[in-house]
């Protein structure tokens, strides 16, 4: 009995976000799946439109399905929605002059970290009594 209730509960959860769309080709089905996972729901902003139960997300899923069936490719559909909702609708922001910091900063931090690590390793390798050296260096500098 308990098992049946659990099974029903599981079922109830998964029923919500299922829409039925019939696609002509496997490619269309894949496009639909990938797009709904990469497009952000504008109402519940930390969910993609595939996961969200919001009314708008459902409308956008239907819209994506409609466009996929009209043989638009993924880029065209993304552009179509960006034209209406702005870049915010994408989880994958484009690389442009005004977003370059977003893209370059992680790389910069990574390089900086690598630089610091390499320098520390080199320093330690060059001087076996590194700790003693640092202390003398510091005193020298302080003088």
């Amino acid at each position: 009995m308990k098992n049946i209730i659990y099974a029903l509960l599981l079922l109830a959860n998964s029923v919500f976000a299922i829409d039925i769309h019939e696609f002509k080709t496997e490619q269309q089905r894949l496009d639909y799946q990938q797009l709904t996972e990469e497009l952000r729901c504008l109402v519940c902003q930390n969910q993609n439109i595939a996961d969200s139960d919001a009314g708008l997300a459902k409308d956008l899923r239907n819209e994506v399905a409609k466009l996929v069936k009209q043989d638009m490719n993924q880029t065209q559909i993304t552009d179509y929605l960006v034209e209406r909702y702005g870049d915010f609708v994408r989880y994958d922001p484009p690389m442009r002059a005004d977003t370059i910091v977003l893209w370059a900063l992680p790389l910069f931090v990574l390089l900086l970290a690598a630089f610091i690590v390499i320098r520390t390793i080199k320093k330690n390798a060059n001087s076996p009594h590194s700790q003693a050296n640092t202390i003398t260096n510091n005193t020298n500098e302080a003088d």
Binding site: G55, E63, V82, R84, F88
Partner: protein, 180 residues
Amino acid sequence: MNKTVLKALIPLVLFLSLVFLLYNGLGKDTRLLPSALINKPVPTFSLPSLLNNKTLSNESFKGQMYLLNVWASWCPNCRVEHPMVTEFARQNIIPVYGLNYKDDDATAKAWLNQFGNPYSDILVDSKGLVGIDFGVYGAPETFLIDGDGIIRHKIVGELNPQNIQNELLPLIEKYKNTIK
């Protein structure tokens, strides 16, 4: 000596930039998204009117500057802003049209009967498809469209004396030469 001081400052500078970054984000309403359609032509649409048997298209509004107010009877904040919309329409600055968004005609009409109809006419977008073309992600939303059919402003959320005074009126003044 100098080098040591500079080195010691690095964590402080990093800390301060982090404080600046986080402080900037404080109090920001993340639900407010910039519209991608500002200074772009209004999307093409052709929708039935809620008030009569006419069909209204974007061409029907050519030459007039107007507000397009997205509302629905299911939307609590539309009720909150309703007196403001009524007051704005009463002042006859520019006409206010409604876009009845994902609503039921009968319920929408009952809502208007109860609270009054401030709109010069109302477009019915029962499926929300024109809403998608307008980048609508909730109600209420209000668009300012000039006489050339260009979207000049969008207000997400309720109209209030502040955004009318500080955002709408200056833009209406600026683009009033587009009215024919």
